[in-house]
């Protein structure tokens, strides 16, 4: 187990370096630059040249990247030249928002999606078709549009929920929960759809296996067959999908955070990339990459834990 973790982490390091190098080089191609953005209305070519030099922006790209990388390794992501704010704590703050959103959605997707999936696998016919329809609709609704519709209905027309914003858990657990309802509902619509469909397919697959037949024939109760044997076996493919889903949620949160004005990583990504706030963009790219790496690691571990055939390795 420990060796598996270490191996995965070692494999991930070059991955993270390559991805961040790619984003760094891409960003360096952008027109206008950090110095220009900082100067704003007081721009003059001379001031620009001087500020570029002060910020070290006139050094070769690879030197700048190496500089960033070595600092990042020590947990120092630099200071945003636009806002003058330290990038690392800023990202940490915003990460908590994005994680609240994505983890909340993932939990909802697992509870409701798996529930619906099992239900429709066990009771096919009309309910199965209903789950099919739900998952198609959930898949098809663009989340930014759905978000606007939810805001219009629940925050503008029948104002029972806050339309926008975020309340940290530490400040007010109730406020935190309430501020998450609409954005999580938005993201969860498609996530539940995906989970329900995958669970249903996996359950149907498992329930058609020979051992289920044997268990039934030997008198094992239907409850145990579905919830112990069925769900446990179906969990193996479902966990893989859940990993992919979580990575997608991180991307999807960009638009949802924009609509709900949540101070999360997505909003930071949009703002920083359009403002040429290089340290912030790099930090965000790093964190997104790390999320992928960590999720993959967790999926691998869960996969090994669920599937004894893999565990032995």
């Amino acid at each position: 187990m420990v060796r598996l973790i270490i191996r995965r982490i070692l494999i991930s390091i070059p991955l993270v370096v390559v991805v961040t190098l790619l984003t760094f080089l891409l960003q360096s191609l952008a027109p206008g630059d950090t110095a220009r953005a900082i100067l704003g209305e007081s721009y003059t070519p001379e001031a620009h040249a001087q500020l570029s030099h002060e910020l070290g922006l006139d050094r070769p790209m690879l030197v700048q990247y190496w500089d960033w990388l070595t600092h990042a390794f020590r947990g120092d992501l630099g200071v945003s030249p636009i806002s003058g704010i330290d990038v690392a704590p800023e990202i940490a703050n915003r990460l908590s928002v994005t994680l609240s959103l994505t983890v909340g959605t993932a939990i909802l997707a697992v509870v409701i999606g798996v529930g619906l999936g099992v239900l429709s696998a066990v009771r096919r016919g009309r309910l199965g078709r209903a789950v099919d329809v739900i998952s198609l609709v959930g898949f098809a609704l663009p989340n930014f549009w759905l978000a606007l519709v939810l805001v219009t209905v629940f925050a503008v027309a029948i104002p029972v929920l806050p339309a926008t914003g975020y309340m940290p858990l530490a400040d007010s657990p109730g406020g935190w929960l309430v501020s998450l309802v609409l954005p999580v509902a938005t993201l969860a619509t498609s996530a539940v759809a995906v989970m329900a469909k995958q669970t249903r397919d996996a359950m149907l697959d498992v329930l058609s296996r020979g051992f289920v037949h044997s268990l039934r024939a030997n008198g094992v109760s239907e409850t145990s067959i579905i919830f112990r044997h069925g769900l446990r076996n179906a969990a193996i493919p479902v966990v893989t999908v859940l990993g992919l889903l979580f990575v997608n949620l991180a991307s999807g949160s960009v638009l949802v955070e924009a609509v709900f004005a949540m101070p999360g990583l997505g909003g930071l990504a949009v703002q920083a990339s359009t403002q040429h706030d290089l340290p912030t963009v790099q930090g965000v790219a790093l964190v997104f990459t790390l999320i992928v790496v960590v999720v993959n690691l967790v999926v691998d571990l869960a996969y090994g834990w669920l599937n004894p055939k893999v565990r032995v390795r």
Partner: protein, 627 residues
């Protein structure tokens, strides 16, 4: 569904491409006297904050969306297919490099990169969609690689290689056509994602710039005037949602089509419903009323039907069958004769939509056909149990053997965890497993086939059943292991007095193990008798044919005769005797009349009117017909 989806996309495409001719208004022409009008006769979908016609903007907006999707999909295909082919076909370092690229690409935060690309290329949507295609390509490459690996080693590819075709041509001519299915599925799903990304970016105001309309931009416009005109949110959302839905539906349909292709033959065959089967059922003489049997299990006039896509289909009819306590009864026949379904009907485990549509199944004096599912379930395990064909698939792969055994034992025995485990180990010992403790700790995949089958038997014994239904339990095993399992079953039967219904197509097993045997063909019992008598003197030409096609130790180097033709599928049964098309003794009577069961000798039944002519060793009247 898929047709509707394609139709919708065609309509959208036509509307977008032909917007110049079809749209009622110029999409950027403002009409400040009529801003934010709802739907009206002049403006079917209303107008926006600048008085522009929403319908026209939707139509023109499709251009940017569809062009973006096309750019992303084409980029993905152009890069992904060659990469995947290269990795799958060439293997070696190419494979390793491509696999590594795939790993990197999967870790790239797509949305961040898209935002950066838009910053670099000044809101150039084409650049963003190309980037999206590039980021999507490795995933396609992975799929293509997998499919290519599967195809690469097929014979005709090797043949093509031998004829001197270049690798490129082989890939283009022979490999590519075989793997289009997964590619199309992937492309369609990706197109949906690309559309979502394109509209999401245009919603953020990145990409195509106003006043040019985009679907995402229209949603953004609508969001600023929610207070004044909430309606304007609806049309772009619906059009966009349906388009994404359509791509998804098409992808799903393609995948289903690919999955169905393999099983198409079967489905087709069973979909065709024969009317002759019905006729036979109707002309069937009613089952003779017999005195209450004292047998452990007794089937009388049982009919079984299953659900097929084309409707209900009968797989067995008019079955009479008895198993006495402690008796080992064989149920013999070729595949598809209804043996297994008979076993499942007894267990009350017919597939969904299947049911016993006639007759009675009496077990331990109670009629299973009138019992509730709950009562039947209670009778399973304790009353009867199952050992199935494939030991590797008869145990739950994710739980340890001991754990699963505990669950079964706990159903029948109260007691502490320790007592339960002890009883489980006892069961494992009773099936002659050498080290029960070690076996209990193992997972099913860590067991050999023979051990797994012993464990499966131990599972079945957990409830001390009086009847064990063994559905070809030795077919998947080595010959030596087969013999051990048969010995075990025989021993268990004699020590516990458990009856066994042994479903098989192997006469050797029948001879070895069974007291009596039933021969089934196309849903009918053709013959039944004690085993010795059946071997010595079969009274049905089908039995004789089967026996003749079994290798015998005493006659060497002789071509085994076989019965011409194949078993008809359920629903395609012929009229009269179901065996008549393959029967050397068949006469015109056999083709028309349902043949009743006869008992020419005591305890020896046959469904053949020509039973007197039946001889073994190809002596069935028309000699040599079976050679």
């Amino acid at each position: 569904m898929a047709a509707i989806a394609i139709g919708y996309l065609v309509v959208v495409t036509v509307a977008a491409v032909g917007a110049g001719w079809l749209a009622p208004y110029d999409p950027v022409s403002t009409d400040l006297d009529h801003v934010l009008s709802g739907p009206s006769a002049q403006h079917l979908l209303g107008t926006d904050a600048l008085g522009r016609d929403l319908l026209s903007r939707l139509m023109y907006g499709g251009q940017a969306s569809l062009a973006g999707v096309a750019q992303a999909v084409v980029t993905m295909l152009v890069i992904g297919i060659p990469l995947g082919l290269l990795a799958g076909y060439a293997g070696g370092w190419a494979d390793r490099v491509v696999t590594w690229i795939v790993d990197v690409a999967l870790a790239v935060p797509v949305i961040v990169v898209l935002l950066m690309v838009l910053a670099v290329f000044r809101n150039n949507q084409t650049a963003a969609m190309l980037a999206l295609g590039i980021l999507g390509a490795p995933d396609l490459a992975r799929i293509v690689r997998g499919s290519t690996l599967a195809v690469r080693n097929e014979l005709y590819i090797s043949a093509a290689r031998l004829t001197g075709l270049t690798s490129v041509r082989i890939m283009a001519r022979h490999v590519l056509p075989r793997i289009t299915g997964p590619i199309v599925v992937r492309a369609s799903l990706f197109a949906g994602g690309a559309l979502l990304a394109q509209s999401g970016l245009s919603y953020l105001g990145l990409g195509v710039q106003p006043p040019a309309p985009t679907w995402g931009g229209m949603v953004a416009d609508a969001s600023t005037v929610i207070e004044q005109q909430p309606w304007s949110l609806i049309p772009p959302g619906i059009v966009l949602g349906l388009a994404i839905l359509s791509f998804g539906l098409i992808g799903d349909a393609m995948r289903d089509a690919a999955a169905d292709r393999s099983s198409r033959q079967v489905v087709k065959a069973s979909a065709r419903r024969s009317s002759s089967g019905d006729v036979v059922t109707k002309t069937q003489a009613p089952a003779p009323v017999e005195p209450e049997s004292t047998a452990l299990l007794s089937l009388r006039g049982v009919g079984i039907e299953l659900a097929t896509p084309a409707g209900q289909s009968t797989v067995a009819e008019n079955l009479d069958l008895d198993v006495q306590s402690g008796e080992i009864v064989g149920l013999v026949g070729e595949s598809g004769c209804g043996k297994s379904m008979t076993g499942r009907a007894v267990l009350g485990l017919l597939p969904e939509g299947g049911r016993v549509n006639a007759g009675r199944i009496v077990f331990e004096g109670r009629d299973l056909t009138t019992m509730s599912p709950r009562e039947i379930r209670r009778s399973r395990g304790a009353g009867m149990a199952l050992v199935s064909q494939d030991p590797s698939d008869s145990l739950d792969p994710v739980f340890r053997v001991g754990h699963q055994l505990d669950e079964l034992v706990r159903k029948y025995h109260k007691g502490s965890r320790k007592e339960i485990r002890a009883r489980g180990l006892e069961l494992l010992r009773s099936v002659s497993l050498p080290d029960p403790e070690a076996v209990a700790r193992r997972y099913p995949h860590e067991l050999s086939g023979g051990m797994a089958q012993r464990v499966a038997i131990a599972f079945a014994l957990a409830g001390s059943p009086s009847l064990l239904i063994a559905d070809e339990p030795t077919t998947a095993l080595d010959v030596t292991v087969q013999a051990e399992i048969l010995d075990l079953l025989r021993g268990l039967s004699s020590t516990t007095g458990m009856a066994i219904m042994f479903i098989t197509h192997d006469w050797g097993v029948v001879a070895d193990l069974c007291d009596r045997a039933y021969v089934m063909y196309a849903g009918h019992v053709m013959e039944s008798s004690p085993v010795g008598r059946m071997f010595a003197n079969p009274l049905h030409p089908y039995t004789a044919g089967l026996l003749d096609s079994t290798p015998r130790r005493d006659v060497r180097r002789q071509l085994l005769p076989s019965i011409p033709g194949t078993v008809p599928s359920a629903g395609e049964w012929p009229t009269g005797c179901h065996f008549h098309p393959r029967c050397p003794l068949a006469t015109s009577v056999c083709e028309v009349t349902a043949i009743p069961m006869a008992e020419p000798e005591s305890n020896h039944h046959t469904r053949c009117i020509h039973h007197t002519q039946v001889r073994r060793g190809g002596g069935n009247g028309r000699s040599g017909a079976l050679a």
